[in-house]
């Protein structure tokens, strides 16, 4: 991933704890709302072609993690005779892997979207869902809570095991990114 040698101030840290890489491509920032403690890494892209009448088109909750090269965009469709973009809502503790594209209507809380996945337009992803690598979630699919989804097109292939929901917690990951964090290798070395 990124080199250990941090460029001075690679991230912009806000009062609410968001860490946004300076190399992230946010387009239409006035329409993107971050709930706080969200990490947006370099080359991640949020693009909101918000309709002028709606104020916000991407809502992101707390402790979300947008990896390099991922892309979030609100879904659009013909509604009442005119093409409209609908808001994209993302809950808390959501991980979006590298080069994934999310065009869902709603992504619940504690959702893990692995690298190279595609979440189609107007998909609804409920809480505690794991979307595996390279999955293509078709448009308009509704994924129930605690499912594991994979395939092309995406199908529910299993369930999150009991107690497995703790892995969705993003607080630790949040601490590993930022302008002045201890190198991640240090705690592992102590353990050995």
């Amino acid at each position: 991933m990124s080199s250990r040698k941090q460029v001075k101030g690679e991230y912009i840290e806000t009062d609410t704890g968001n860490k946004v890489s300076r190399k992230a491509n946010l387009i239409g920032t006035q329409h993107i709302m971050l709930g706080g403690k969200t990490v947006i890494m370099a080359d991640a892209m949020g693009s909101s072609g918000a309709a002028p009448q709606s104020n916000t088109s991407i809502f992101i909750g707390r402790y979300c993690f947008l990896s390099r090269g991922c892309c979030l965009r609100p879904p659009g469709r013909i509604y009442k005779g005119a093409f409209t973009y609908m808001p994209l809502r993302i809950g808390d503790h959501v991980f979006v892997g590298e080069n994934s594209v999310v065009q869902a209507a709603t992504v619940g809380s504690h959702v893990h979207i692995a690298a190279n996945a595609v979440v189609g337009e107007f998909a609804i992803v409920k809480d505690y869902v794991r979307i595996l690598e390279g999955t293509v979630v078709p448009a308009n699919m509704v994924i129930p809570s605690f499912s594991v989804v994979a395939g092309q097109p995406g199908r529910v292939i299993g369930e999150v095991p009991e107690g497995g929901h703790e892995q969705f917690e993003m607080r630790e990951m949040y601490k590993t990114v930022g302008n002045n964090v201890p190198p991640p290798a240090a705690p592992a070395a102590q353990a050995v």
């Binding site: 912009i12 300076r22 190399k23 992230a24 491509n25 387009i27 920032t29 892209m45 693009s47 072609g49 918000a50 309709a51 002028p52 892309c71 965009r73 659009g76 013909i78 005779g81 005119a82 093409f83 409209t84 080069n99 594209v101 065009q103 190279n116 595609v118 189609g120 390279g134 293509v136 092309q152 097109p153």
Partner: protein
Amino acid sequence: MSSSNKRHSMMPRAGQLPKAPVNLSSSVVIHDNAVLTGNHTINISSETVIHPRNKLDSSHGRVTIGRRCIIHERVVIGAPSSDPTKGEFGVTLEDYVTVEVAAVIESGCTTIGEGCLIGVGARIGRGAKLGKFCQHCTITARSVIQPGEQLPDYTVLYSNGTRRTDRRGVTELKNKAQARQIDVMRRLIPTNINRFKE
């Protein structure tokens, strides 16, 4: 505002790549962040919309884009292919083509017919031809079309290689919807065509 200015300076500058000779219709919408590069001509016909962070590369051949196409973010049109021999032209997109986020279209006599939909992250190989008359194919997300492959009209390619024929007969409606979508995007995407023309 100062922070946004700073971040802007970190972005790859458009000036780093040679500007391509372009032939743009006045009703084209191109976001300032798109890159048009190469040494062959890039033709873009009327009412086409090009989203930010696109790369149109004509260094391996001419790129032609038809009327009312929508090219979404991070698309690469005219990507170099493994076969270095030059074709007669690079890439041709006919009218009403939609290319979704992060798709890659290789250069070298690649033709995308009217009304085709290229899904998210799909890859179209060099010299591929979609449709006998090149029309209304749908390539779903993350599909790969091999170089030189030809698809008949109305083919839907999904699930990594499975094919079926689209018999819904909604092409007229689709084209109408595309026109509406373009109407909205024209208002949303800030554009300054003269920037690309020099």
